[in-house]
């Protein structure tokens, strides 16, 4: 089972056309193994992207050296997924058997 320990989901809002084109280039770049949850659309429209643990530092520095602001939407994706799984498991445990 593929897990996502330490993966983070970034939110990036491109400020201008330069940043927009930079993000568009990232969409086609395999180097960082990014998974775009919300694709690049236009200036001012948020882009959400999952970044694997191994790429975190290099990706952050890629953005920072190009003066692109970002925020972290999900700090540790696996933690959120574990919580989701836990909720599903506990729902199943408490499900009433049909009479």
């Amino acid at each position: 089972k593929e897990t996502f320990e330490g993966h983070q989901v970034f939110r990036i809002v491109p400020k201008d056309d330069v940043q927009l084109s930079l993000l568009k280039d990232l969409e086609d770049m395999f180097e960082f193994q990014l998974d775009f949850w919300k694709d690049v659309t236009g200036v001012g429209t948020p882009v959400d992207v999952r970044v694997p643990l191994d790429s975190l530092e290099s990706f952050k520095s890629h953005l920072e050296t190009r003066d692109v602001d970002y925020s972290i939407m999900i700090e540790d994706l696996q933690a959120v997924l574990d919580q989701e799984q836990e909720e599903m498991d506990s729902a199943a445990r408490f499900a009433q058997p049909r009479n």
Binding site: K38, D39, M73, I74, V80, E84, E87, M88
Partner: protein
């Protein structure tokens, strides 16, 4: 189905069981149509809500063509129950169902959905292997014969937006294509995705405006306004290419070109705090507000025959 837990996410086998139970409980209203098989051999189940008649005008709704968008399959399940509960009680829905059929495909990409539960929660595409590549699957929302292979879709099998080797190459897509064509009387087609809160109409593959743009826009405006009336959730609306981006080979571009005027696609909650891992507590609020928009679209279709 009264004891089904609508407030939690469910596996594909639980959803299949729910569908069978709903049919068993409502034999005069609901039936199950199997329109085909997925690549891995799972049935492509469509719930048909009908009060009789033959080949009535119909409304199509699908959820879960992108498997990781779990709130859509969960909402689809809630819609199914809502339809049987409201028929005979809600005047608008009753009038629709007395004259039209509703088809609802809750798990449009079952292989991907199963995989998202068992192997990779972030799986979006189908599960068919690609010849000459180690990457699996096709984006079933880039696989339709509407600007197929154009900008806004990838020719790389490793991309999340890989369009596939040819239009309708995916059985999950081809089965809908065949069903829509053979039915011939579908008047509204609503394809539901998540997330980012948008309601869109064609086109995605071209900047050319659809000839019904003014009407589709006005109806979308009404739908999102009704949706917002419940919890204040704000939606953007417009054509795909204007609201999101250029995307070729998309579902509702094909349906519109088939003559289905009321072709719409949703992106449900949220604005990005949780993305595809929207907490289960959000399922029912999402479904409830979406239902208001769905009713607006269905009611307009019913009252404006063409």
């Amino acid at each position: 189905t009264d004891s089904y837990d609508y407030y939690n996410y469910h596996t594909i086998s639980e959803i299949y069981r729910f569908q069978d139970m709903l049919v068993a409980e409502n034999p005069n209203l609901v039936s199950k149509v199997v329109i085909g098989q997925s690549y891995e051999g799972r049935p492509l189940n469509v719930l048909k809500f009908s009060t009789g008649g033959t080949n009535r005008r119909a409304i199509w709704i699908d959820t879960g063509i992108h498997s990781r968008e779990w709130v859509t399959q969960a909402s689809g399940t809630w819609f199914a129950k809502k339809i049987v509960t409201d028929y005979g009680r809600d005047a608008a829905l009753t009038a629709i169902l007395d004259n039209m059929d509703i088809f609802l495909e809750i798990v449009t990409n079952p292989d991907g959905f199963y995989y998202s539960h068992t192997r990779n929660r972030m799986w979006r595409k189908t599960r068919k292997p690609n010849r000459g590549s180690s990457c699996i699957g096709v984006d079933p929302n880039r696989n339709w014969d509407a600007g197929f292979g154009g900008p806004g879709a990838s020719s790389s099998p490793c991309s999340e937006t890989y369009h596939g080797p040819s239009a309708h190459s995916e059985s999950e897509v081809k089965s809908i294509v065949d069903f829509v064509k053979s039915h011939g009387n579908i008047k509204a087609f609503i394809s539901i995705h998540a997330y980012s809160q948008m309601l869109m109409y064609p086109y995605g593959y071209t900047r050319t405006a659809v000839k019904d743009q003014a009407e589709l826009h006005a109806v979308a405006q009404r739908a999102v306004s009704n949706l917002a009336s419940l919890y204040g959730t704000r939606y953007r609306y417009g054509s795909i290419i204007n609201v999101i981006y250029q995307a070729s080979g998309g579902t509702i571009d094909w349906t519109y070109n088939q003559g289905i005027k009321y072709s719409y696609t949703f992106e449900l909650r949220d604005t990005g705090r949780y993305g595809f891992v929207l907490p289960a507590s959000q399922i029912v609020p999402t479904a409830r507000e979406t239902w208001l928009a769905l009713m607006t679209l269905m009611d307009h279709t019913f009252k404006n025959p063409y």
